[in-house]
């Protein structure tokens, strides 16, 4: 029972970066653009956050630059998919490779030829440190909470959200009412990159303190699974992310315990959970109808 605070802390620690990325995924998918490149955008955000955080000694500047880096990478996706109707999966896969490649390249350039950045002098501040029951909370938890509410409000209460979801469901309908489908999708993809970038930095500036090639390993994909599991709803997806974070915390807690489970098996837990959850979620998911389909005016 002493572990509750620790489990809670670790769950949130792991879930927070995922939630950032999942929010990005929701925005993009809801506009009708599949963004499988979230992983690459997280990676470049993780690197940009750590590198800028190291050189400026200000983690918040690093955090902002991470968002910008993710946004810049996603702009490529927007140009390819929205403007030139490219296949969204292929573009996304390419971005994942580019995101990692650029990060490693810049890392070697700036950090004496190694693919690992030096630890940042200042991590993002903690909200709670060594609280009761071993409770530790990062400030990113608060930031992401604000964003969850913000995205929810945007999607369901605002004019922009009404148009965004319409574009993802029935772009021709939105088009006939004078909504600029291309602009909405373009912006949505870029915003999804901003979120993914922040998600990456939430790992390198709050969870750990430096970038390494494995700091983002499948987190983007787990976030996308959470988007589906959470039915493209920011609250649902966040809960899904918490579930994955919880699985991760079990890895930590059980790994340190007396029960003899091979650590490799434990480490697989969150990923296995992802697959199990998606299998259980078969049948009707209310995915945005036009997701993944380029909008070409006047095509029957």
């Amino acid at each position: 029972m002493d572990n509750i605070g620790i489990v809670f802390s670790i769950t949130l620690m792991y879930a927070t970066p995922l939630i950032f990325a999942a929010l990005g995924g929701i925005i993009s998918e809801r506009s009708g653009v599949t963004n499988i490149g979230i992983e690459g955008m997280m990676t470049i955000g993780a690197f940009a956050g750590a590198a800028v955080g190291y050189f400026t000694a200000n983690p918040w500047i690093g955090f902002a630059c991470a968002a910008a880096a993710g946004g810049a990478l996603s702009a490529l996706h927007a140009i390819a998919c929205v403007k030139f109707h490219a296949n969204q999966i292929i573009s996304g896969v390419a971005l994942n490779l580019i995101g990692l490649g650029v990060s490693l390249f810049l890392s070697r350039l700036l950090f004496d030829g190694v693919t690992q950045t030096l630890p940042v002098p200042n991590k993002l501040p903690k909200l709670v440190e060594n609280g009761p029951g071993g409770l530790n909370l990062d400030s990113t938890v608060l930031v992401v909470l604000i964003f969850i509410i913000g995205v929810w409000f945007f999607l369901y209460k605002s004019r922009g959200g009404l148009r965004l979801i319409a574009v993802g469901e029935h772009p021709a309908a939105a088009d006939t009412l004078g909504v600029n489908v291309f602009r909405v999708r373009f912006l949505a993809v870029i915003v999804s990159g901003l979120f993914a970038g922040m998600g990456g930095a939430a790992r390198t500036l709050a969870v750990v303190s430096s970038f390494s090639p494995i700091v983002i390993s499948g987190h983007g994909y787990i976030a996308l699974a959470a988007v589906i599991f959470g039915r493209w709803n920011p609250v649902g997806a966040s809960l899904a992310c918490l579930l994955f974070g919880f699985a991760q915390s079990l890895v930590v807690v059980l790994g340190g315990g007396d029960i003899a489970i091979p650590s490799q098996i434990l480490a697989m837990l969150p990923y296995i959970l992802t697959i199990v959850v998606l299998v259980l979620l078969r049948g009707k998911t209310n995915a945005p109808k036009a997701s993944g389909i380029p909008y070409i005016k006047g095509q029957r």
Partner: protein, 507 residues
């Protein structure tokens, strides 16, 4: 300047690649009139209206509204000029409420970007009352009827201040009662000084609703007539370019032995409600058995069970004594059932495939279309060239075109060509002329009759009572999932069948 015209389109031409969709077409619509644009499928009616609504740009020609030349490049331009359009395939977001669909793109806001639903609701309620629309603004589009959805589309245009309303094939999805109501709505709107342009190929509705009619054939102006001075037959001739027979010539029915036998069939829908409940019927060689009934009385589930698209709960379906219920669509096809499905775009064709590919969908695994799993494109293409010629699937060279690029009538002809060429023993036709013009309907009806004359059994499931009465040798009335009566065609009249369809006894 002549401001008596709400819309003038002058010498409009439009090309799609090398195909000329519109060739110097003119259109003059007076203020406050109901103006019909009549033409066959693919004549260019919708293209012309899409140009007026800013969806396409004309390659040449001018558009004037209210006496001034306009540049309409996007729907937004059209909306700001007071033009609204109700598309044939509704432009509605299914997961949204009626209210959300109406305000989309033109939302009232309070504070930064926050939608003021309350204000919008009050405004639309008033609008709906002005036009006597009875509509639940909070219902989701996916839960309301097609007729209601159409009203949503009309309110959408009115909410944006449309004075000129374009209705693209507005009646093709409506029941007869809904059509009456729509015509009332149209008259009501004209009294409120709106101008209406209605695209249609249904002559009866033009006669009932329109003041003036512009006829287009194959992208060219044919005539402009005052409806009061014309009749259905003349209009049909103008549209098709030849005399059209409204009645079909039927040979005597030579009924053979029983072909398809359905016994005590029970089928449930997705919500586990019994839609077909102990249905029995027999279809003989060389006859057309028409199933008449109001939509939703089990026609869809009956069709799906016969074609093995849906599992039957109990009962049997036999062809020549061989059980085929709950097998697979492939097995029923091999047993000799050919199908003209209700929705040609969803289940009849793969829209992204070419016509040639679509023509062999069911038999591509067989010689000569493929050998050892390798497709023989030459044979597939020849097959399609032959069929498209034989069944007049336009335009020329349609075999190599994307199915989705063809007009509805030609898509339907392609399906009929394919199904008849399958040479099955039973033809199941569901709403085979839905949304088709008189020329195409005549074609489809003759094709179905000639199948019957070849000794095939035809099961005709249609919501158009006229069609059932015209073609069938026997009429089976379906009500609540059962056949309530089977009547010989010569004893069947609209009144008696109508009574049975409504569940009335003793007819």
């Amino acid at each position: 300047m002549d401001a008596t015209y709400a819309v003038e389109m002058k010498s409009i031409s439009k090309y799609f690649g090398g195909f000329c969709a519109l060739d110097n077409v003119d259109l003059c619509v007076q203020k406050g009139e109901i103006h019909a644009i009549l033409g066959e499928n693919g004549a260019g009616k919708t293209t012309l209206m899409n140009i007026l609504y800013g969806f396409y740009e004309a390659d040449s020609g001018e558009v004037w509204t209210n006496g001034q030349k306009r540049e309409i490049k996007t729907p937004k331009d059209a909306i700001s000029l007071g033009i609204g359009m109700v598309h044939q395939h509704f432009m509605l977001v299914e997961t949204y409420t009626v209210l959300q669909n109406i305000i989309l793109g033109d939302e009232h806001i309070k504070g930064p970007g926050v939608i003021d639903y309350k204000k919008a609701k009050a405004e639309i309620k008033k609008l709906a009352e002005d036009y006597h629309f009875n509509i639940d603004l909070d219902a989701k589009i996916q839960d309301i009827t097609v007729g209601m959805q159409q009203r949503v589309e009309i309110i959408k245009a009115l909410y944006r201040g449309a004075d000129i309303l374009i209705l693209d094939e507005p009646t093709s999805v409506l029941t007869p009662q809904e059509i009456e109501e729509l015509i009332d709505i149209m008259h009501n709107m004209v009294q409120n000084v709106k101008t209406i342009i209605i695209i249609t190929h249904k002559l009866a509705e033009i006669m009932k609703s329109a003041d003036t009619c512009t006829v287009i054939r194959r992208g060219k102006n044919i005539d402009k007539v005052a409806v009061a001075n014309t009749c259905e037959k003349d209009l049909a001739e103008l549209m098709v370019g030849r005399a059209v027979e409204f009645t079909v010539e039927k040979q005597e029915c030579r009924r053979g032995s029983a072909l398809l036998q359905i016994d005590g069939l029970v089928v449930e829908d997705d919500r586990k409600i019994k839609k077909v409940d102990g249905l029995s019927l027999e279809l003989f060689e060389g006859e057309i058995l028409g199933i008449a009934g109001v939509d939703g009385n089990g026609q869809k589930e009956l069709f799906e069970a016969v074609t093995s698209l849906r599992k039957a709960k109990s009962g049997s379906i036999r062809i020549d004594g061989q059980d085929i219920q709950n097998t697979s669509p492939r097995k029923t096809f091999e047993a000799g059932i050919s199908v003209i499905p209700e929705d040609r775009q969803k289940s009849g064709l793969v829209l992204d495939f070419t016509i040639a590919e679509n023509m062999v969908l069911e038999k591509v695994q067989n010689a000569p279309f493929s050998k050892h799993g390798i497709l023989d494109w030459k044979v597939i293409r020849q097959n399609a060239d032959k069929l498209t010629k034989e069944y007049d699937v336009r335009p020329d060279g349609s075999a190599g075109m994307r199915a989705g690029a063809l007009s509805g009538g030609n898509q339907q002809k392609a399906i009929i060509a394919r199904e008849i060429s399958n040479d099955g023993r039973v033809l199941v036709a569901v709403q085979p002329t839905r949304g088709l013009d008189v020329g195409a309907i005549e074609f489809v009806h003759n094709a179905i009759l000639s199948e019957r004359d070849k000794g095939k059994g035809v099961l005709l499931i249609s919501l158009e009572l006229d069609e059932v009465l015209k073609l069938s040798d026997r009429v089976a009335v379906i009500y609540n999932g059962r056949i309530v009566n089977i009547i010989d065609a010569k004893d069947a009249d609209e009144k008696r069948i109508g009574l049975l369809m409504a569940g009335g006894e003793g007819a």
